[in-house]
């Protein structure tokens, strides 16, 4: 179980991992101290292991920087839940082993206690006492995620095994 940290629509990779911190990209633990800083300056301080990032439409639009999902994961976030995701962010998140869930986030409030059952496609909002269904990840992505990300997948199989 973890807490919801709510954000709006169009959270770009510039808000998650800003270009002005470009020089920290080879130092992910340091960059993670600034995760989502330009959307919520206190987020890195507030977030606890097992919490969730909850957002509106088109989460992660913009640059291909994989550092964005990588530092969200490094900050301890268990999954990102949004109405929709930008394509590259979605793929990157799976590759780094960060679950991404698409559902109607209007029903979730900031600070709600959440739990997700990824395999079953169910999100439980304990605070509100509701269950939300979400579509399962495509099979390819589930395989990569279950292997622990793309690097682990290739290490395990020596090639794509999708």
């Amino acid at each position: 179980m973890g807490k919801a940290h709510k954000f709006g629509d169009d959270i770009s990779t510039d808000l998650i991992a800003p270009g002005r911190l470009f020089h920290l990209r080879s130092n992910l633990p340091e960059l993670a101290k600034h995760v989502l800083e330009d959307a919520d300056p206190d987020f890195a301080k507030k977030v606890k292991k097992g919490d969730f990032v909850v957002a509106g439409r088109n989460f992660g639009l913009g640059s291909s920087r994989e550092h964005a999902p990588a530092i969200i994961k490094l900050a301890g976030v268990k999954a990102v839940i949004a109405k929709s995701f930008a394509r590259i962010f979605y793929r990157n998140a799976i590759n780094v082993g960060l679950p991404v869930v698409m559902c109607d986030t209007d029903k979730i409030d900031d600070s709600d206690e959440l739990e997700i059952k990824l395999e079953r496609g169910i999100l439980i909002d304990k605070t509100r006492g509701i269950e939300l269904d979400f579509p399962a990840l495509p099979k390819v992505m589930m395989t990569i995620l279950n292997d622990g990300g793309l690097v682990a997948h290739i290490k395990k199989h020596g090639d794509f095994c999708l």
Binding site: D10, S64, L162
Partner: protein, 417 residues
């Protein structure tokens, strides 16, 4: 049913006929990374114990985003890229060579190729009719080592543009208009295919502007059939032999078709802080601008600089405005030096920097101050993009940028041309 450009190109790379919706593993012809994403790709290759490139002559490591370096950490990343290139025989495009998307299209990609790049604007290569798409460092690292990647064959939205663009309306205005129409996520997971006589009449420089911004509508690719214009461009870059005609079937199945009358497009501006927040020039009031930036993979080509120079010729920029100009590549820079464009721009007050990304992403060379506004020819205006979340970015064509530099206010290029 016939095939779209995306289906055609992907089919030839997995040796069977595919349709939208299928998931396939494809061979990759060209891979690119830049200095923001390359170091992580290299770390992943080390982690995989695969410090090799399947096709080193077509794997290009660019140093363009912070080039030359502005910080020791970045310099160290650059060392990592240079060492990896030496070790593996991969191509290195070092400082001064230019922005990855300009150089890759001038020198490496050909019609019908699949290009994957660890940079979201890799879709620029769609202008040469290559299936070009942006991915993250790990995907591209695996592509470099194995020479393949997995992808879902995208559905395609056809954008048919017909008629003549009005005077002072450019490819940039057209693509901003399209993004305003379909929204920043209007084409997520899909490909765009641009066609119609307006597109056929466009130069490669203009087509590159269109394809470059496909990702700003969420698209995976922004494709244009290859034709004589493509051949000319390749010839200009001394590789006419790379030309191949690639076109969609007449009965290709599109998810939908959007018809646009080119004559109805006006000079268009994207307002802070999302690209789809567009207004036409006639809709806007007095907006003061502190910095004008002409350059980037969107609009930093020789044609773009010439259009700006024509407007600025024998004039001087407004005293309260800074004008930064960054040619997209060394070739562009040399062309613009040789034909006098650079001289005109400098005389008008421009500060011309080395080819690369320049001020586009807020690392260096034009970071905005608190409360400042910039009018830029780049492709993105997200909050914080130019290094300061307390600044505002407007996007427009090079003509609008030059007109704005003269007056210090967002200005209709039709007033000065």
């Amino acid at each position: 049913m016939g095939q779209t450009l995306a289906e055609k190109i992907i089919s030839t790379h997995c040796k069977r006929s595919v349709t939208a919706g299928e998931i396939v593993v494809v061979n990759v012809d060209v891979c690119l990374t830049q200095d923001g994403t390359g170091p992580l790709a290299i770390s992943q290759l080390k982690e995989l114990d695969m410090e090799i490139a399947k096709n080193p002559k077509k794997t290009v490591l660019f140093i363009d985003h912070a080039a030359p370096s502005s910080k020791k950490e970045l310099s160290n990343d650059h060392i990592k890229l240079r060492d990896f290139a030496k070790k593996t025989g991969c191509m290195l495009s070092d400082i001064g060579e230019g922005v990855c998307h300009q150089v890759i299209n001038e020198s490496y990609v050909k019609p019908g190729d699949i290009l994957i790049g660890a940079d979201s604007h890799t879709c620029t290569g769609g202008a040469l009719c290559a299936f070009s798409t942006g991915m993250g460092s790990t995907d591209v690292a695996v592509g470099i080592a194995l020479g393949k990647t997995w992808m879902r064959v995208p559905e395609t939205i056809q954008i048919r543009v017909t008629g003549k663009l009005q005077k002072s309306v450019y490819a940039k205005d057209l693509i901003l208009h399209i993004i305003g129409l379909i929204g920043a996520d209007g084409a997520t997971y899909k490909a765009l295919e641009f066609s119609g006589d307006t597109i056929e009449g466009m130069s490669m420089s203009e087509r590159l502007t269109l394809s470059n911004m496909a990702v700003e509508a969420g698209a995976k690719a922004g494709l244009i059939a290859s034709d004589e214009k493509t051949r000319e461009f390749l010839k200009e870059n001394r590789r006419e032999d790379d030309y191949a005609r690639v076109a969609p079937d007449d009965d290709a199945g599109y998810e939908r078709t959007i018809e646009i009358d080119a004559g109805s497009v006006r000079p268009t501006i994207s307002f802070p802080h999302t690209v789809d927040n567009v207004k036409t020039i006639d809709e806007i009031k007095d907006i003061k601008i502190d910095q004008v930036f002409i350059g980037t993979c969107t609009n930093g080509r020789a044609d773009d600089l010439r259009i700006a120079a024509q407007i600025l010729c024998r004039k001087h920029i407004h005293k309260d405005v800074r004008l930064i100009v960054v040619p997209a590549s060394k070739k562009v820079y040399l062309d613009a030096i040789r034909d006098g464009t650079i001289e005109m721009l400098v005389e008008a007050g421009a500060c011309v920097m080395a080819p690369g990304c320049g001020a586009c992403l807020g690392v260096h060379e034009g970071v905005l101050g608190d409360g400042e506004s910039c009018l830029s020819t780049q492709n993105r205006n997200f909050r914080g993009r130019m290094g300061n979340p307390n600044a505002e970015i407007y996007l427009a064509s090079p003509a609008c940028a030059a007109a704005t530099a003269l007056s210090g206010r967002i200005t209709d290029p039709r007033e000065v041309l």
